[in-house]
């Protein structure tokens, strides 16, 4: 019996010498896995234009009915995205979202991506609705934001490269 007791205590003492497995969140944050699904981000192209074309396929794919999209028409004087259509309203209700990532799969332009951010908290239900300005990533350094005034006839395609899907 003593033998068993000694073996148990040995484990205890061994663990005492090792460091703790817990991290002191939030001072210390663990890196998420590559395919982690956190809060959504609306991506931009390198030139600053939004990838989202307001097609609402994410909303159609969403099993929780968390996404709401309204589209409007682009002009060359006021261009948000390539092609004719852009999302003038894009909202995700983070309380409804189940982070399944179907929206990401449905997106034809890879505009909506589930990011790394899992730190969501709200004190009001309305705050849980993330609007387009909260979801859209900022334009990269030195790049113009949207809307942009562009040369006519350049951005005529909504989905820039229509290729066969790669196997």
């Amino acid at each position: 019996m003593l033998k068993e007791l000694g073996r148990g205590l040995l484990t205890t003492f061994k663990m005492l010498l090792e460091g703790p497995v817990t991290t002191s969140y939030p001072e210390e944050k663990r890196e998420v896995r590559p395919r982690f699904r956190g809060r959504h981000v609306l991506k931009r192209y390198d030139n600053g234009l939004e990838k989202c074309i307001g097609c609402s396929l994410c909303a159609a794919a969403c099993p929780a009915d968390a996404i709401f999209v309204e589209a409007s028409e682009n002009t060359d004087e006021e261009r948000y995205s390539p092609g004719e259509r852009y999302a003038s309203t894009y909202e995700i209700n983070m309380l409804r979202c189940i982070y399944c990532g179907f929206c990401e799969d449905a997106c034809p332009t890879e505009a909506v991506v589930l990011g790394d951010n899992y730190e969501l908290s709200f004190t009001d239900r309305h705050d849980a609705i993330y609007t387009k300005d909260l979801l859209l990533e900022p334009a990269s350094e030195g790049r113009p934001t949207t809307p942009q005034t562009v040369e006519p006839g350049v951005y005529t395609r909504s989905v820039p490269q229509m290729e066969n899907p790669k196997d």
Binding site: I53, G54, C55, S56, L57, A59, A60, F68, E70, A71, S72, E73, G83, E84, R85, S88, T89, E91, P108, T109, T156, R157, S158, V159, Q161, M162, E163, N164
Partner: protein, 814 residues
């Protein structure tokens, strides 16, 4: 009856009348053969080749003329090539294989071919979700293209054909459905093909572009997203929309429609109408809808609408509560001692009008119809019988269109009368000027404005026209208000009624009024009557004005309203009449509530609430019930209950119930189901075809001979003009002008003159002239029309000029 032939389609034996196309024969037994260019309402052209099937015919022995038998069965020989099911008529013993591997391969290849240059931009396409090409690509598409992306033919994606219709050249598959619709069905070939081969392109020939009031229909039958409306452009995805059945409230045709609605952030989270689509009713509008019905709905969501009851305090209208407003209005009506006038227009539903009539009766007051067109008592008696259907009229039917510009007054009737003419019906147009229907009429009778009654009376004496009228198997007479006022139309109606007197109550026979409002017929049936002298009727009375703006239409009526004892206005907007009112009650638009309209063909049709009410507004019948309660008259306040009361009180509605109005039946062609490629995106009718009112003939009553009233003739003196009112489809009416989209179609007030007459005046086309009539002077621009008489000036109604009937006017150059 045509000879019946037996054939086999996909192993199913059927019989079909000889001459039926394979695609239709298959459809009738529920087999869908894919099509793009074929449309059941149009002639087949076999352009897209999508409907390729294997067709086999029995081998006939030349010596005996009998089929060669093999194992007791006729030996079938299949052609070496596939045939198009949309152009091949059925024949005896034919065997069709639409699902065989060979047929499937052919269909698959056609889809692959059509997709060679298709942009595949379904994510941003307005047709996405209800697109025949998308559906058939999912079914037959190759999944992978054998063509290189770089070799795709890129074309312009945003081409406005007119201000209402956009063309995407890349998406077009050159099926010519739109071109054929404009040509065959609308009779306005304003678009066509340009160029050849891959560069084939749809272009418009007119300026302004796509100048047709039926243009919206091309977007319904376009099997791809090439044609889309500017109204719905990127408005929503089709699967996000809710649909509510309704009836168009713009004209007396009563087209069945669907309101597609969606909650919108742009509209502060309200549920709004995103688009109007036709709903199939083969007896009313088939699957078509005019552009006014499709695009003029925006008034319902105008933010300027009345949202709260208003009560005049110290000479100013102030916001009030329903209780207070109803108590004041009801109190005044009760204390008026029968000196009450209820003035309502045909924009209201049957339920609203019945409650208003009951209130007027209960108070011992008058129920007046606000209109400039008479003769409804005659259409109620000699109206077309149950089962009337323009779609069935053809040889043997005579249709007389008297003093009506159907194209502007009731476009879908224009389209249907034109269709009847194409099938062999004799169309007679009698008018004081050229109308668009003239081109399709067998006889055109031109008269001088003022001679309408004599002309109609004299028709039977004319040799050929008289023959066409008297010996016609079926006779339908449509009368309108082109160039006429209340008295003129009443007299014209009487003259027209004499032509159909003996035929009343029979299907496809009778009198139809081309009313200015959707439910004028219902108002007449319920007992509303117009009056010659509205001004004197209003003076000194307690007036309850509903859905009418007399003060805004005519300064004389405004003056009369000022002399009224007390004015209650029930409206959508703060109109000039509402400005003069002591109590203003906000009414709901018909899109926000239930009810029913009676069409010009005397068909009662239900509509349903599509969107929530605006502000605190209430349904007209409910407001009337509220006011009546305060006035000591008890009325029902739910649509269903009011309709039940209506049915037991008004004989014409006897036997009808909401359930009967909501009944449906199988219709041909089958549209709006899963196979959108066959009939287009028109909705299937699942919420009711409506029902015909009981006619006098059916009630076994004999009608008395209509009475013709005397009218003073107007003869302009030298230097004066005879100004006559005509109807313009897109006017400045309350229910039209809120649509920004139609602004350029509405335009400013005009006067139409003969070119010679205009030259005498010294004014050219588009120049301004000053017109003075009925004590008003205004500047209007000149339009020229060679078919107008020399001293006649045509003035469109509802364009800001007070013209209720023919009147002597002065014109001078500015």
């Amino acid at each position: 009856m045509r000879k019946q032939v037996r054939l086999t389609i996909d192993d199913r034996q059927i019989t079909a009348p000889a001459g039926t196309l394979i695609v239709n024969a298959a459809k009738q037994i529920g087999i869908d053969i894919p099509v793009f260019c074929y449309h059941p309402k149009m002639e087949p052209v076999g352009m897209c080749r999508m409907c390729l099937v294997e067709v086999g015919r029995p081998i006939i022995d030349r010596n005996t003329g009998q089929p060669v038998l093999e194992d007791g069965q006729p030996k079938i020989q299949f052609g070496p090539k596939l045939e198009t099911a949309c152009t091949t008529p059925v024949s005896e013993g034919m065997v069709v294989r639409g699902m065989s591997e060979k047929a499937k391969a052919g269909q698959n290849e056609i889809v692959e071919f059509l997709l060679t240059s298709h942009p595949l931009d379904c994510p941003i396409c307005d047709k996405g979700g209800e697109c025949p090409l998308q559906n058939l690509t999912m079914e037959h598409g190759p999944g992978k293209s054998r063509f290189l992306y770089d070799e795709k033919f890129h074309l312009e994606k945003r081409v406005p054909l007119g201000d209402l219709i956009f063309l995407d050249r890349e998406r077009c598959i050159q099926c010519a459905r739109c071109i054929r619709f404009q040509d065959e069905i609308a009779g306005e070939p304003v678009i066509g093909f340009y160029n050849r081969g891959r560069a084939t392109d749809i272009v418009t020939y007119t300026d302004p572009g796509f100048d047709s009031v039926f243009s919206g229909n091309t977007t319904d039958i376009c099997p791809v997203g090439a044609l889309t409306t500017s109204d719905f452009r990127f408005g929503a995805r089709t699967w996000e929309l809710k649909s509510t059945a309704s009836v168009c409230g713009q004209c007396p045709v009563g087209c069945n429609i669907v309101f597609n609605t969606r909650r919108e952030a742009k509209a502060d989270g309200r549920i709004v109408i995103k688009r109007v689509m036709p709903r199939q009713n083969e007896q009313v509008n088939e699957i078509w809808l005019c552009d006014k019905g499709r695009f003029a709905y925006h008034y319902t969501e105008n933010g300027a609408r009345l949202s709260r009851p208003l009560v005049k305090k110290n000479g100013k209208l102030e916001a009030s509560s329903w209780d207070e407003a109803a108590a004041i209005a009801g109190g005044k009506l009760r204390s008026a001692d029968g000196e009450v006038v209820v003035l309502a227009s045909g924009r209201l539903s049957n339920e609203d009008l019945f409650n208003l009539k009951s209130l007027a009766d209960g108070l011992g007051g008058k129920a007046l119809l606000y209109t400039q067109m008479g003769g409804g008592d005659l259409t109620a008696r000699f109206g077309v019988g149950a089962g009337t259907n323009f779609g069935e009229m053809g040889a043997g039917t005579t249709i007389l269109v008297a003093a009506s510009d159907l194209y502007n007054e009731a476009p879908v009737w224009h389209l249907r009368v034109k269709g009847a003419a194409k099938r062999g019906a004799t169309v007679i147009v009698a008018n004081g000027r050229e109308t668009k229907l003239d081109a399709f009429a067998k006889y055109v009778v031109r008269y001088a404005y003022g001679d309408e009654v004599e002309t109609i009376n004299g028709l039977q004496q004319k040799e050929k026209i008289g023959e066409a009228i008297t010996s016609a198997e079926n006779l339908v007479v449509l009368f309108g208000s082109d160039g006429l006022g209340l008295n003129g139309t009443s007299n014209l109606a009487a003259a027209c009624a004499e032509l159909v007197q003996g035929r009343a109550g029979k299907p496809n026979n009778g009198l139809i009024g081309v009313w200015p409002k959707a439910n004028d017929q219902g108002a007449w049936e319920i007992g509303f009557r117009p009056t010659d002298d509205l001004s004197s009727e209003l003076k000194g009375k307690t007036v309850y004005v509903v859905a009418a703006d007399p003060a805004g239409d005519d300064p004389q009526l405004a003056a009369a309203l000022k002399e009224a004892k007390f004015v209650i206005a029930q409206e959508l907007f703060q109109t000039a009449t509402a400005d003069l009112a002591d109590v203003v009650l906000p009414a709901q638009a018909y899109t926000e509530r239930d009810g029913s309209f009676t069409s010009g063909e005397r068909r009662a049709q239900r509509f349903y609430a599509a969107v929530p009410a605006f502000g605190e507004s209430q349904a007209d019948y409910a407001i009337t019930a509220l006011v009546a309660d305060a006035a000591g008259v008890e009325l029902a306040d739910s649509a269903g209950q009011v309709f039940e009361n209506l049915v037991v009180t008004v004989e014409a509605f006897a036997g009808l119930t909401y359930e009967i109005l909501a009944e449906t039946a199988e219709q041909w062609p089958v549209v709006g189901r899963g196979d959108m490629y066959y009939g287009g995106t028109t909705y299937e009718n699942t919420r009711g075809l409506g029902a015909h009112l009981v006619g006098w003939g059916e009630r076994g009553e004999t009608a008395s001979r209509p009475r013709v009233q005397e009218e003073t003739e107007l003869r302009p003196k030298e230097g004066q003009w005879l100004a006559v009112p005509v109807t313009k489809l897109y006017d400045q009416g309350l229910t039209v002008r809120s649509s920004k989209l139609l602004e350029s179609h509405i335009g400013a007030a005009t006067v139409t003159l003969h070119p010679e007459a205009a030259k005498r005046l010294g004014a050219g086309a588009g120049e301004l002239v000053e017109i003075s009539l009925n004590g008003t002077t205004a500047q209007v621009s000149v339009l020229l029309d060679e078919t107008v008489s020399a001293s006649v000036a045509l003035l469109p109604r509802g364009m800001g000029l007070p013209i209720s009937g023919p009147v002597v006017a002065g014109l001078k150059k500015v």
